[in-house]
């Protein structure tokens, strides 16, 4: 009786793990800290060898990685397929743009807007979450998609507030108060994004290995059994939506500050699909995987500008191909090994501390 509704998302993480080559998860599993440290150092030094356009792209990758980490909470951990994720990104961006631009003559400092925008995005996440609580997986996908479109349409048409398709411009650059330093070059924003990214990953990682994260995964695996273990399904679903949304809202604020002007066209369904795709390509549930996914999906097409025209074409075909040609068997064993490894590490930390 459970097989049908259970079949919706339960084995998603497991199955997406099979997509990643085995050695990646093995290496990541064994030398997790070293890998992360190396990646971070690389990310820190990278812009020094890049021109300003490339740094801009790197920042873009970072923003998408951040959103990926947030969506991963919703889709990867909690198993709720959200196709309207861009809405929260838009909410964050427009919150900052409205509070810190000539539009209403408000110039609230960037650092104050962040918590406000994050809270508004989280609230929007809950508001989206409430009606879809009892929906099955694919209905959920369509309704969230509809939600994303509604937000975009409203932004596009609510001219007195958002100025419609013309968008909002002359958005304030963030400045650091005491030393009166204003962030205005791609490099500045790159480092801001890097900090936000690391923070997001840290939070997501901590959540994953906690009572909250376990409740999410349990819910993804089997809702009824999770409820029988005392997991409040409503609370944890809404929590997943809220936390996922707040990451996107945070990213949106940075995006608005960085771009200086934003338009409804920045927030199309394709952004949601891109974020979802990078979460899947990276191996759902894996945070370094999200970074790799962001580099592949956002970075590569920008580098290969010549194929720009074919970019989306290839992207679409890639999505289909990825779903079909997943190597079976031996990689799922690799996942199991890395899982055991992860637990051992944790276990030894616990017993020694």
């Amino acid at each position: 009786m459970s097989s049908v509704h259970k079949g919706a998302f339960d084995s998603v993480r497991d199955w997406s793990h099979r997509l990643a080559p085995p050695w990646i998860s093995q290496v990541l599993g064994r030398h997790k800290r070293l890998t992360l440290a190396t990646l971070f150092l690389l990310a820190l030094l990278l812009p020094l060898r890049a021109d300003s356009y490339q740094v801009h792209i790197l920042g873009y990758i970072g923003l998408f990685a951040m959103m990926g980490v947030g969506l991963n909470v919703v889709v990867g951990f909690a198993g709720l397929l959200d196709l309207g994720y861009v809405a929260f990104f838009a909410i964050g961006a427009y919150t900052y743009a409205l509070l810190a631009s000539p539009q209403f003559g408000l110039h609230i400092p960037f650092w104050f807007v962040i918590p406000v925008a994050v809270a508004i995005a989280a609230l929007a996440g809950v508001l989206l979450g409430i009606p879809v609580l009892r929906m099955r997986g694919d209905y959920l996908a369509i309704v969230t998609l509809g939600f994303g479109e509604i937000i975009r349409l409203v932004l596009n048409n609510l001219d007195p507030v958002t100025r419609g398709p013309q968008g909002l411009s002359s958005i304030d650059r963030p400045s650091i108060p005491l030393i009166s330093f204003t962030l205005d070059t791609p490099i500045h924003f790159y480092y801001l994004i890097l900090i936000a990214c690391v923070l997001s990953m840290f939070i997501a990682g901590r959540l994953e290995n906690s009572r909250v994260g376990r409740a999410w995964v349990a819910m993804r695996e089997d809702e009824d059994a999770a409820a029988a273990m005392g997991v409040d399904l409503i609370k944890y679903k809404l929590l997943a939506f809220a936390i996922g949304a707040s990451f996107a809202g945070f990213g949106g604020v940075i995006f608005a500050a960085r771009q200086g002007s934003i338009f409804p066209a920045d927030f199309t369904l394709m952004v949601s699909i891109n974020v979802l795709a990078l979460v899947i390509i990276g191996g759902m549930g894996s945070i370094p995987g999200v970074v790799v996914g962001a580099i592949i999906l956002v970075g590569l097409p920008e580098v290969l500008r010549d194929i720009q025209q074919f970019r989306m074409l290839v992207f679409g075909a890639l999505l289909v191909a990825m779903m079909i040609f997943r190597p079976e068997g031996f990689i799922s064993a690799a996942r199991q090994r890395s899982e055991v490894q992860r637990i051992r590490e944790l276990g030894s930390v616990k017993t020694t501390s």
């Binding site: 694919d138 509809g146 349409l153 048409n157 795709a277 989306m312 890639l318 289909v320």
Partner: protein, 325 residues
């Protein structure tokens, strides 16, 4: 107060009011016709969603693109026939050819999609075919973009201007044509699903694939047939939209696709008559809401309705027929 107003009303004012009220009524009637036209197109596309959902319990996300490609196929056929001078002299034959081509292209494309993007994933977790469908949708959109470019293609005018008069309401020929042709297709489909052995096989597969296979039904072929029929209807709908709005591009599949899906959900997904009712209903709601709220929000109305229905009555107006397990 009220009485004085009434007593002081001049005969001229009364006539004026009546005319205004008449116009108002005509306006509503006009919107009803618009709604029915749009609604029948939604219904045709919705049928594809609902039938596929019935047999596979998956949302064929790329169905809107089948509709779009069908519209292109119709456009090229129609343009070619007119360019050859054939269209002007043999209107009826031209229409038949155009619809046939679009339906064949739509049907074959849908079957191809099933074969390439969905069949290998039939036993995979449910997210897999959905993402595969999103991928296929992006692929088709951009394939059309790359091949034909981003510019709008303009459908040649097929129907003469003017229309049928019903009292004060005039219905253009194209609308009459769309409404009647859609009804004919729906009736045909209904008979097909209810009466033919392939239709019965479809219903059996929708109930239970494994048992159907045990009963000697070729499940793969039945599913392919479902896609064929759904794709053909979407192709026909594509031509109708082309003729109705006269302009098409590679993006026209997305929003109508979503709305048709909404219609399918409204009618209870998996429910064939439900999709028809849902389509007409959505078309009417959209047309009437245009009277009350700015037209730019008509898509918001459709999506809002979708969310609302799923919250209040997740099984649709007529109830979900298949996939109830």
């Amino acid at each position: 107060m009220r009485q004085t107003t009434r007593s002081s009303t001049s005969p001229i004012k009364v006539t004026l009011e009546r005319t205004l009220r008449g116009m108002q009524l005509d306006l509503w009637a006009q919107q009803a016709i618009n709604g029915l036209t749009l609604g029948s197109i939604y219904a045709l596309v919705a049928l594809g969603y609902t039938m596929v959902y019935g047999v596979l319990q998956m949302i064929n996300f790329a169905h809107g693109e089948v509709f779009m490609v069908g519209s292109y196929a119709g456009f090229f056929t129609l343009t070619a026939l007119f360019a050859a001078g054939f269209g002007q002299s043999n209107l009826i034959l031209t229409l038949i050819i155009v619809f046939l081509v679009a339906m064949v292209v739509g049907g074959i494309l849908a079957v191809g999609l099933e074969r390439v993007a969905y069949r290998p994933l039939r036993r995979a977790p449910r997210l897999a075919p959905l993402i595969s469908a999103i991928g296929a949708s992006i692929f088709l959109q951009n394939a059309v973009l790359v091949i034909f470019g981003p510019r709008l293609q303009v459908y040649p005018y097929v129907f003469p201007a003017g229309g049928v008069s019903l009292g004060n309401v005039s219905i253009t020929y194209i609308r009459v044509f769309i409404i009647f042709l859609s009804l004919a297709f729906m009736l045909g489909l209904h008979v097909f699903v209810r009466r033919t052995s392939i239709g019965k096989a479809m219903r059996a597969v929708a109930e239970d694939k494994d048992t159907a296979a045990l009963m000697g039904i070729d499940v793969d072929r039945t599913i392919a047939t479902t896609f064929l029929v759904g794709g053909a209807l979407a192709g026909a709908a594509g031509v109708m939209v082309g003729m109705y709005y006269t302009q098409i591009n590679h993006m026209i599949g997305f929003v109508p696709g979503l709305k048709a899906f909404t219609a399918a959900v409204l009618g209870g997904i998996g429910n064939v008559p439900g999709a028809m009712v849902g389509g007409l209903f959505l078309g009417l709601i959209e047309a009437f809401s245009a009277q009350a709220i700015p037209a730019v929000y008509k898509d918001v109305v459709a999506f809002g309705l979708l969310v609302l229905v799923l919250i209040i009555r997740p099984t649709g107006i007529l109830g979900e027929v298949i996939g109830k397990k």
